[in-house]
């Protein structure tokens, strides 16, 4: 690792200025929990590092009434300790709570989880379920991209070398809707997700699904919506039988997507309890709201 220049900057303007100047030779560092390892292993060899961890503007969670805006530099610890994610946004709380270890959560940021593009990034499936939009800034201004599209179509929506991820925002769900999350790791702490499932659910008085979104992590090249199972569940009454059938629908999607992968037989079985847990937690919460 041979860095020629390091910058600890205080404003977004300074960052985009530096990105414009150094382009592919520069890398952004925030919490450093992924990038320092990549530098050490020489997986990346930038000439310049730009540290954004001291930019106040990137470190706040804003309740803007209808929307919640999370700065890209907000750490997982900050999300876990925020009162905003304790009720029907529990799924985001839970996902962030299960990231790494206390030390990793203290430094790792939600923006880093997105910018690194790991298929196993824990916070992404819940954010996709919420229909989150990300804001990217460059010297030429800002643009907004739907998080789901960002992953699906990197060529058109992915981050350019002169861009900085600034914030993530999503519409606050109404009280009758809930975000939940389940993760399968191989141990309790410091576990990379083998599978994660997030669901966003709304039921009518009869227990029929009026809104459902399902997003998965580690079930493809990137975190994604599981549209087949969403379509299957929409309008149905959520009972054991429906959930059993929904699991089969997810497995069918996986069979196509993960064809030939050595992990498929394992993940096929493991996905059952993840979907059950995520949907189950959602139903439990909504039962409490309706009761």
């Amino acid at each position: 690792m041979v860095l020629e220049g390091v910058y600890k900057v205080r404003s977004i303007d300074e960052v985009v200025e530096l990105l414009e100047k150094y382009r592919e030779n520069a890398k952004i560092i925030a919490g450093g929990t992924d990038i320092v390892i990549a530098l050490r292993n020489e997986k990346i060899t930038p000439k310049v590092l730009i540290d954004i961890s001291s930019i106040d503007e990137l470190k706040s969670i804003k309740d803007e009434g209808e929307f919640i805006k999370i700065g890209a530099g907000v750490t997982f610890t900050k999300i876990v300790e925020s009162s905003l994610f304790q009720k029907n946004l529990w799924g985001l709380y839970k996902a962030c709570r299960l990231v790494g270890s206390p030390q990793i959560r203290n430094k790792g940021t939600i923006g880093g989880n997105i910018a690194n593009g790991s298929p196993a990034a824990d916070s992404i499936p819940p954010l996709i379920c919420l229909g989150s939009t990300i804001t990217l800034a460059s010297k030429n201004g800002k643009r907004k991209v739907l998080l789901e599209e960002y992953y699906k179509d990197k060529a058109n929506y992915g981050m350019k070398e002169d861009e900085l991820l600034v914030s993530i925002d999503f519409k606050k769900p109404t009280e009758n809707r809930v975000l939940s999350f389940a993760k399968l790791g191989l141990r309790k702490a410091l576990a990379i997700s083998r599978i994660s499932i997030a669901t966003f659910l709304e039921l009518d008085k009869k227990g029929q699904v009026t809104t459902i979104r399902v997003a998965s992590g580690s079930l493809g090249k990137y975190p994604m919506r599981e549209l087949e199972v969403e379509e299957f569940l929409c309008g149905r009454k959520l009972n054991e039988r429906t959930i059993d059938e929904a699991i089969k629908v997810v497995q069918q999607s996986m069979d196509e997507r993960l064809k030939g992968r050595s992990t498929l037989p394992y993940k096929r079985v493991a996905v059952e309890s993840m979907l059950r847990e995520s949907i189950g937690d959602g139903i439990k919460f909504l039962d409490g709201v309706r009761a």
């Binding site: 390091v6 600890k8 450093g32 390892i37 540290d51």
Partner: protein, 158 residues
């Protein structure tokens, strides 16, 4: 080289650091504070744990230049006037130290936990040290020591 200012264990430093070194290297090689150790170098083991601006971090994953303007507390900064910190004393009294390699990191994690939560349950203690590995597997004694340190700290406050 880059000029940085930081406070370590209550002392202000102005240093000229290599762009490529980590906070762990700065503490050990520049300041001679060898309590924090490099175990895995990738944030799995927690042997390099120090407290940065009130929160535990893996100092092997923080670039030294990033620590500009920060407050760092290492195991060396815990004792006061030649007396061990109650958490350190509890680790000794319980016998929670085997080979000792993980101990500085463990103690810093316990310290950060007790700073936020003065009376954690055993489960919360386990969660609090979940980013620290003990290859001697002395976890029960370590949790016992954390519990005893809660008592010591309470007595100290009285």
């Amino acid at each position: 080289m880059k000029d940085i200012k930081l406070n370590v264990n209550g002392k202000d430093y102005t240093l000229n650091v290599d762009e490529n070194i980590k906070l762990l290297g700065l503490l050990r090689d520049e300041l001679g504070l060898t309590g924090a150790k490099e175990g895995c170098g990738e944030g799995e083991c927690g042997a390099c744990t120090v407290i940065m601006d009130g929160e535990t971090v893996n100092s092997c994953l923080v670039m030294a230049f990033q620590a500009d303007g920060s407050n760092i507390l290492t195991i060396e900064g815990l004792e006061q006037n030649g007396e061990l910190h109650p958490i350190q004393q509890a680790f000794i009294d319980v016998g929670a130290v085997q080979c000792g390699y993980c101990t500085p990191g463990m103690i810093m994690s316990v310290k950060a936990l007790l700073d936020k939560n003065t009376n954690p349950t055993r489960e919360e203690i386990r969660e609090g040290i979940s980013g620290n590995l003990c290859r001697c597997t002395g976890y029960n004694k370590i949790v016992d020591a954390a519990e005893l340190s809660i008592k010591y700290l309470e007595e100290g406050r009285r």
